[in-house]
């Protein structure tokens, strides 16, 4: 039992922290957020040069071959600096999906492209009407000769507009809710029959609803066996869940720091408001939440690739439940303690608040995971 980071993990964090502090100021964030694309290709190249995008890409595909702890080491920095680029969507989740199919040449090539930053690939899995249920796939894929025809609707696909390739799940057999019968396809974003309805999300990232209307996908673009893709998809989502937890902890730390600084500076009734015990205790409560969340982000990283699926799911549901509750408390109280200023677009705290709110809504909220945890115990 130890909770120390390795030298490599520490260095990775320091390199990313330094790069983002130099290149990703709050002003830069705002200008990127308001740009047409919503992300910045020069930042993307910068992250690629640092190796950030290749962290979990295997050495065979030219990557660093690291795992969830290295991902955790840099995700907190991405959260704090409000990184809008598809690090989580492509370099973490996209790479995790493709690693499972790296014995297929097109997947291996795409994986190498993700690591070098030349390609972006995102998972298009959840559907409107599915909420957080990963087995609820209604999008269909029908085989006709050497092609599949895809029809359906994928909801809130993060960074779909930035992607070169969408990794689209579709049902080749069975009914919505069945674990079997889900297949996975690499679909170019520009494929005929694939339509994107793009929008910003509440925290300023970009996403899209993806409509598949008779999109033709060649047989060679199917990843893995027909109907057997769900375990790989869920494994990638679990890795993504752990990463979003680490991102949220980075945001919470930033919010606690900023709030402490604010109550030291802000004067009312002739003294800094941080002298008031009611505010001191609120900050103590924020810190307690933050430390429980940090503990669970470690647990999530340590267990998100565990081979025992019950142990993996128990840990991840526990982590997401605790981190969601902490994110809610820390986010709401940071805004509260900043008073009217916390409500303004001008301060970073409101943007952190929205990123934490988004983190609560992704990969299952606290109630969803509390229910799952309770159900797992009885299983």
């Amino acid at each position: 039992m130890n909770f120390e980071f390795s030298d490599e993990q520490r260095q990775l964090h320091e390199v990313v922290e330094r790069y983002l502090n130099e290149q990703y100021s709050f002003e830069r964030f705002k200008s990127i957020k308001n740009s047409a694309a919503g992300w910045d290709s020069s930042v993307w190249r910068g992250l690629a040069e640092l190796g950030v995008l290749a962290i979990t890409v295997p050495a065979e595909q030219g990557g660093l071959g690291f795992g969830p702890l290295e991902t955790l080491a840099m995700m907190g920095d991405c959260g704090r600096n409000l990184v809008l680029e598809p690090v989580l969507s492509s370099a973490v989740i996209g790479a995790a999906v493709l690693r499972a199919f790296a014995d297929q040449k097109p997947a291996a090539e795409l994986l190498a492209g993700i690591g070098s930053g030349e390609k972006i690939a995102v998972l298009a899995h959840f559907e409107s009407g599915a909420r957080y249920e990963s087995q609820w796939v209604t999008t269909s894929a029908r085989r006709n000769g050497d092609n599949y025809t895809l029809d359906g609707h994928k909801g809130v696909v993060m960074h779909a507009g930035a992607a070169d390739t969408l990794l689209v799940s579709a049902r080749t057999s069975g009914s919505p809710g069945d674990a079997q019968g889900v297949s996975l396809f690499m679909v170019p974003r520009t494929a005929p029959g694939l339509v994107l309805d793009e929008y910003p999300t509440l925290d300023g990232q970009r996403a899209a609803d993806v409509y598949l209307k008779g999109a033709q996908v060649p047989l060679a673009n199917r990843l893995g066996t027909e109907g057997g893709a769900l375990p790989a998809i869920e494994a990638a989502l679990d890795i993504g869940l752990a990463a979003v937890c680490a991102d949220a902890v980075g945001v919470m730390q930033a919010m606690v720091d900023a709030t402490v600084e604010y109550v030291r500076q802000r004067q009312q009734f002739g003294q800094p408001i941080g002298r008031f015990q009611v505010l001191q205790h609120r900050i103590a409560d924020m810190l307690i939440h933050l430390e429980q969340a940090r503990s669970m982000s470690y647990l999530a990283a340590l267990r998100c690739t565990h081979e025992d699926i019950i142990e993996r799911r128990r840990a991840l549901s526990a982590a997401k439940a605790v981190i969601g509750q902490a994110a809610r408390f820390v986010g709401q109280q940071a805004v509260q303690l900043h008073g009217g200023m916390g409500m303004t677009d001008e301060l970073q705290v409101s943007h952190w608040f929205k990123r934490l709110t988004a983190a609560q809504l992704m990969f299952g909220d606290s109630d969803t995971h509390l229910q799952r945890f309770a159900a797992l115990k009885r299983a």
Partner: protein
């Protein structure tokens, strides 16, 4: 970073489990698991067995007769002991006064007191709080005046835990009323058989006799029973409070009580189904379990950091606040699990071995009899050992720097 304990630590855990299997009697284990009170003899006998194994001075260095465990080993012992239904260690001797005697006591005091603490020969209790000095401990008023080679002590201590069993009491007394509050306090060791000491029980809301008030009327204390220097007692007291905080989260006890809660909630019925299947109740159990897990990892993080430095830092305040909140929530769920059968409140049915009258209707499940009292009793957790509000003051001052 890894969660698993080292091979040596796991071997140590196995050694502790073996000891518990061999030395912990099923009667005591059953009492602990069912929430019955333990008597003086139960505790003393357990201390004797620990002592025979060389573990009497838990957390003490080898030079003072302890096993020389590090904080991880102590954590493992306390966790395994709690899960096996071992008695909670009475901290006043081994964990509180002993470290003070080791750090600040004379050689003579060390030789006189430490072996008898380890062996269970002396039961110690604490004389800190007073009616007017709770969270503001330094405002204490019990006076000690030096007359020749004796201090003469007058005053009143309160919230004294299990003093009715005690042979000795360690006390903070005021020896200089002119100096700044913290600078006029002296740390005395007082024989409970001294003339002039009166122990009066304080009955608590659960009907139990766990705490006392203690009156001192011209009690004569030999000067050789003073720890360190006169008027330096506050330094020793703060040192002691630092030691009180090790294993403050009570993770093992939390796991045991959670297992008990699940057992009871599986046995209770609602609409013909086990209560544990009720979605709302199941979610509340899950919440407690998840919170305990998060705290366990936080506790392990503190231990991992402590491998390098022995001191218990202000992080202990986080463990205290969360630990007590979680224990209180589990005790509340335990009470609510039995619904209306938490209402019958009969002291005699809270004793181990109580036989219900078989000729009458069943007065609810046997395990229900202690649950309301225990819920009531556990409200103390957020009050003693520094209220949770004081802990938050510590967090905001020591960790946040406000």
């Amino acid at each position: 970073m890894r969660l698993e304990f080292t091979d040596e630590e796991q071997a140590f855990r196995a050694e502790v489990q073996r000891f518990l299997r061999e030395q912990l009697s099923p009667e005591i284990s059953a009492k602990v698991w069912n929430g019955y009170e333990l008597g003086r003899e139960d505790h003393v006998e357990w201390q004797r067995r620990l002592h025979q194994r060389g573990w009497g001075g838990m957390g003490w260095p080898v030079e003072f007769g302890g096993p020389g465990w590090n904080s991880v080993q102590q954590y493992i012992f306390e966790e395994e002991s709690a899960l096996a239904g071992g008695p909670r260690l009475i901290p006043f001797g081994t964990k509180m006064v002993a470290p003070v005697i080791m750090a600040f006591g004379s050689k003579v005091q060390q030789q006189r007191f430490l072996p008898r603490i380890s062996s269970g020969a002396d039961w110690w209790c604490q004389g800190y709080s007073e009616p007017g000095a709770g969270s503001d401990l330094a405002s204490l008023k019990t006076r000690a005046v030096l007359e020749g080679d004796h201090y003469v002590v007058n005053g009143q201590k309160t919230w004294n835990t299990l003093g009715q069993f005690a042979d000795w009491i360690f006390c903070l007394v005021r020896t200089d009323s002119q100096a700044k509050q913290q600078s006029g306090i002296t740390f005395l060791l007082i024989d409970m058989k001294s003339p002039g000491i009166t122990v009066r029980p304080i009955m608590l809301l659960d009907g139990g006799h766990e705490v006392n008030e203690i009156w001192f009327e011209n009690v004569r204390v030999p000067v050789e029973n003073r720890i360190g220097e006169e008027n330096r007692g506050w330094t020793y007291a703060k040192f002691l409070l630092g030691h009180e905080r090790s294993n403050i989260a009570g993770i093992g006890i939390g796991k045991r009580e959670l297992a008990r809660l699940k057992r009871i909630a599986s046995s209770e019925r609602q609409n013909g189904r086990p209560l544990i299947e009720d979605p709302l109740f199941a979610a509340q159990i899950a919440q407690a379990e998840i919170d305990l897990w998060a705290l366990e990892i936080t506790n392990l993080r503190v231990l991992s950091a402590e491998r390098k430095s022995a001191a218990v830092g202000p992080e202990a305040s986080i463990l205290k606040v969360r630990g007590t909140e979680i224990h209180q929530s589990i005790s509340e769920l335990l009470m609510r699990a039995v619904g209306p059968y938490a209402l019958p409140f009969r002291r005699e049915a809270m004793e181990a071995g109580y036989q219900f009258d078989a000729s009458r209707e069943s007065p609810g499940p046997r395990y229900a009899s202690t649950l309301a009292a225990s819920y009531c009793n556990q409200r103390k957790l957020s009050i003693f050992g520094g209220t949770n509000e004081i802990q938050k003051n510590i967090i905001s001052k020591m960790i946040v720097g406000l």
